[in-house]
Symmetry: C2
Subunit: 115 residues, 2 copies
DNA sequence: CCCAATAGTATCTTTTTGTATACTATAGCA
DNA sequence: TGCTATAGTATACAAAAAGATACTATTGGG
């Protein structure tokens, strides 16, 4: 490790992943490719329209995803992860891997308390 | 990428890094080793005692850092990153690297707007 | 006796996030 | 004519995170 804390850019990456639902949204876009608004909404159960809209707008703002509007009625809007956005996937994967281990770690800790 | 969104553990890792100051605190502990409370406070300018305490407690709770109290007056408390905590450093590094590129990306985008 | 130093707590306020619910426009269809 | 579908907005509210500020205990030193 040789990150100078003063010059640290971790927060810049963190800021993009933080926000309820953002990782899940990205994973669906990475896994299933282009998705409509309504498809995402169905994929992420419990999310409200407002939240989905907000998270998508923020990801779009950072060029992580692309939004394409089809001028038709009823409306059709598609979201696709950009090439740039795909560069986040090693981070997502590393976090997922670590998170999996951590879940185990916590479970073992909880068991030790019981015994 | 092959993370099943439903089984996603990204949030578990994310939750540990999220919290204002946490990445910086970790970087200082990784860089300078064991640190006293007051040293950390001096290292992280702008942080309040309450925030520093809170972040440290949360990191301790997850076994990322260890807290050692010396029973003396004035008090002395040392914080050290655990071996387990060190396993986060690849993630920190990946984020820092991505964040550095992203900062550049945003700068270039801003410049395009001006020209 | 009084002060500085350390590692905190305790309160209160502000800001940021997230939730719930209702509302909109309009083409196609029965 | 009224209903459905889609991708949102608008508004109000609740909860969580962060910030500002004041307070505490104790002891060695002057």
């Amino acid at each position: 490790m040789d990150i100078e804390p003063d010059l640290c850019r971790v927060e810049d990456a963190l800021g993009i992943l933080v926000g309820k639902w953002k990782p899940i949204i990205l994973l669906y876009l990475l896994k299933d490719g282009t998705q409509r608004f309504s498809e995402l909404k169905r994929s992420v159960p419990g999310i409200t329209q407002k939240m989905l809209t907000k998270q998508l707008r923020e990801l779009e703002e950072e060029d992580i995803i692309e939004r394409v509007v089809y001028p038709q009625v009823p409306p059709k809007v598609e979201y696709t992860i950009t090439e740039y956005g795909k560069s986040l996937s090693p981070i997502l994967e590393a976090m997922h891997e670590w998170g999996t281990k951590h879940t185990l770690h916590k479970r073992q800790k909880a068991n030790r308390k019981i015994l």
